[in-house]
């Protein structure tokens, strides 16, 4: 696998009227990874994707896909790209199959076998000859994935692909994307505003906020940096009231309160063993001490300014 990035953004800026929607984005997407765009509503994920696929002009800067400039070498660059931008809107009056035939005709080298292959890949075999207007949201999403994969792209761009999929569908998509990157060396860019989803799916995330790049990090790095910080833990201890009193008296505990599942405790990760030891010394039984998953979301919200829009 080469180390050339498959996509490079250089000082990409988008202005519409007087407002700057995307502000000087510069980053690379390495080949063969699942790369996430993470950001709250209105952060500019879709706008960035629209510029990457040539639907929107780039006010300043440039986007290079597989060595081709998307602006000057559009037809060459887009050949390597399969994408869903926001909702995958298809021709409702055509069957799923004819929708795929339509897109297959637009790229040389997609034959009937490939169409059938993609159909069974997204598990639409049974309904493929139905009109798209009879499809459920999840089925449309699957058809969207199918049209994006049709021409064996080396870069797959999916804007909120899990929108409308059921948990099994999300899992399938995730596994399938993994498989594509591992076996065929495809690079995948997905956008989402859900950190938990990104955590399971991505190798690396770029965090966007109000059109600016906050950070690009490997997901492991991102998660561990989150765990180093102050965290919230849920403790199941008995007797609970005595434990709460003790916790409130401790210097290392920043905050403690009773919640439905037990006691909630905010403290630095490093201090947790000592806090627990102190409790045990007071003959308090501890059944469970668990870091709260919520705190990762909190960390993300912290980075992106509390999830406020615009």
């Amino acid at each position: 696998m080469s180390h050339e990035p498959i996509v490079s953004l250089r000082h990409v800026t988008k202005r519409i009227g007087r407002s700057t929607i995307i502000d000087n984005l510069t980053f690379d997407v390495p080949q063969g990874e699942i790369f996430g765009f993470l950001g709250p509503n209105g952060a500019g994920k879709t706008t960035t994707i629209r510029m990457m696929v040539g639907l929107m002009s780039i006010t300043q800067g440039e986007i290079i896909i597989k060595g081709e400039n998307i602006k000057s070498g559009f037809e060459q660059a887009i050949r390597h790209v399969g994408a869903i931008v926001e909702n995958p809107e298809m021709y409702k009056y055509l069957s799923g199959y004819h929708n795929l035939v339509h897109y297959a005709r637009m790229v040389p080298g997609v034959n009937k076998e490939r169409i059938d292959e993609v159909i069974s890949l997204v598990k639409l075999d049974k309904r493929i000859h139905d009109k798209v207007k009879k499809y459920s949201l999840g089925m449309r999403q699957r058809l969207g994935v199918a049209q994006a994969l049709l021409h064996r792209p080396s870069l797959l761009i999916l804007d909120e692909p899990t929108n409308g999929l059921d948990p099994a569908g999300i899992r399938e998509l995730r596994d399938y994307l993994r498989l594509l990157t591992r076996t065929e060396g495809i690079t995948v860019i997905v956008s989402s505003h859900l950190l938990s989803e990104m955590e399971l799916m991505c190798d690396r995330v770029a965090i966007l906020q109000q059109g600016k790049l906050v950070d690009v990090k490997g997901i492991q790095e991102f998660m561990s940096s989150a765990t180093e910080q102050v965290q919230t833990y849920i403790i199941d201890a008995s007797p609970a009231e005595q434990a709460l009193g003790a916790l409130c008296d401790m210097d290392k505990v920043r905050e403690a309160k009773a919640v439905p599942d037990g006691l909630e405790l905010v403290a630095e990760r490093e201090h947790i063993p000592e806090i627990l030891a102190d409790l045990m010394r007071l003959n308090i039984r501890i059944y469970k001490a668990q870091p709260q998953r919520q705190s990762l979301e909190d960390r993300f919200l912290e980075m992106t300014g509390g999830g406020q829009n615009g």
């Binding site: 639907l55 409702k92 790229v107």
Partner: protein
């Protein structure tokens, strides 16, 4: 390019709406032909046609005897009498009472072709925007210009298909009604020099079709321009149909002004040069051709610039 046109045709002919239009076209040709046949003066069908022609000639001569008759009516009636004389002298029966009468009558349905083609064209481009399908259409290795041109060609093909349906159904059906009698009848008409001439019936029919086709092309081009500018089917279809019907009124109201000959609508009806009565004195077929070409280039340039340069946002 070929596969893009195939795609456009697939999107067009896999919609029930398109087939409803084609069916309606067939039905209206049948209906008008039957009505024409039903209301025909049955005497014109056999050898009695001479009597009918002589009757009409007498009527017109009486009109011409009226000294208060205005100039336009006088010349029209004189022409008719000359044509009727020609029929009698050369033993050529008029179209009345033959298959050609209804066939020439249904040539007026070309306006329906314009209407249907404009509806389909307005929706073809703007519908991709309102349906959101434009996003997936434009992220393929086909330039926006090629996509626009393929849509354009597919629309013209649709117009031609409607024209062929009109022609074939009309010839076949009326031919069957009259058992293809007088199929080689020539058309007797007055040419622009005022001479009476015989013309091939089918060739004249196609001349009428094609002259009307010019206006179809202009309206389709206009619908495309509005589609790519406003991205709304309703707007494109509505505005073009409005122009189709209001255009003639506009140019009539403004006829007194000399500059009105540069208005699109004053040049759309090229049959004005077939009958020798142009919209304004001194207008020629070449003049109209130049004006129409100028509009054609302008409309296409606007659609092209707007469609290829503008962001696809919503």
């Amino acid at each position: 390019m070929g596969s893009l046109i195939l795609n456009e045709n697939m999107k067009l002919y896999r919609r029930p709406r398109t087939w409803a239009m084609l069916g309606f076209m067939v039905a209206i040709v049948l209906f008008l032909s039957i009505m024409d046949w039903y209301h025909n003066d049955k005497r014109t069908e056999g050898d009695e046609w001479r009597n009918v022609v002589i009757e009409e000639k007498q009527q017109r001569s009486e009109i011409l005897n009226d000294p208060k008759l205005n100039e336009e009516n006088r010349s029209y009636n004189e022409q008719r009498v000359a044509i009727l004389d020609y029929h009698l002298e050369h033993d050529i029966r008029p179209e009345e009472g033959t298959m050609w009468d209804a066939i020439n009558g249904t040539a007026g349905l070309t306006i329906l072709i314009t209407l249907f083609t404009v509806i389909v064209a307005g929706d073809s481009l703007a519908g991709e925007f309102s349906g959101g399908t434009i996003k997936l259409l434009l992220i393929r290795p086909a330039s926006r210009l090629k996509i626009l041109v393929s849509k354009y060609i597919s629309m013209l093909m649709f117009g031609i298909l409607l024209l062929l349906i009109l022609f074939i159904v009309s010839i076949l059906f009326n031919g069957l009604i009259y058992r293809f009698g007088n199929i080689d009848l020539p058309l007797v008409m007055v040419n622009t020099e005022g001479e009476i001439v015989e013309r091939n019936m089918v060739a004249t029919l196609w001349k009428t079709y094609l002259f009307n086709g010019v206006s179809t092309i202009m309206f389709v081009t206009m619908a495309f321009m509005i589609s790519s500018a406003f991205r709304s089917s309703a707007m494109a279809i509505g505005f073009s149909i409005f122009a189709l019907f209001a255009g003639t009124i506009v140019s009539e109201v403004l006829q007194a002004y000399e500059w009105s000959k540069f208005i699109l609508f004053s040049n759309l009806d090229l049959t004005q040069y077939l009958t020798g009565r142009p919209y304004q004195e001194g207008m020629t077929l070449t003049f109209s051709a130049v004006v129409l070409s100028a509009y054609f280039i302008l409309f296409n340039l606007v659609s092209w610039l707007v469609f290829t340069k503008r962001d696809v946002a919503a």
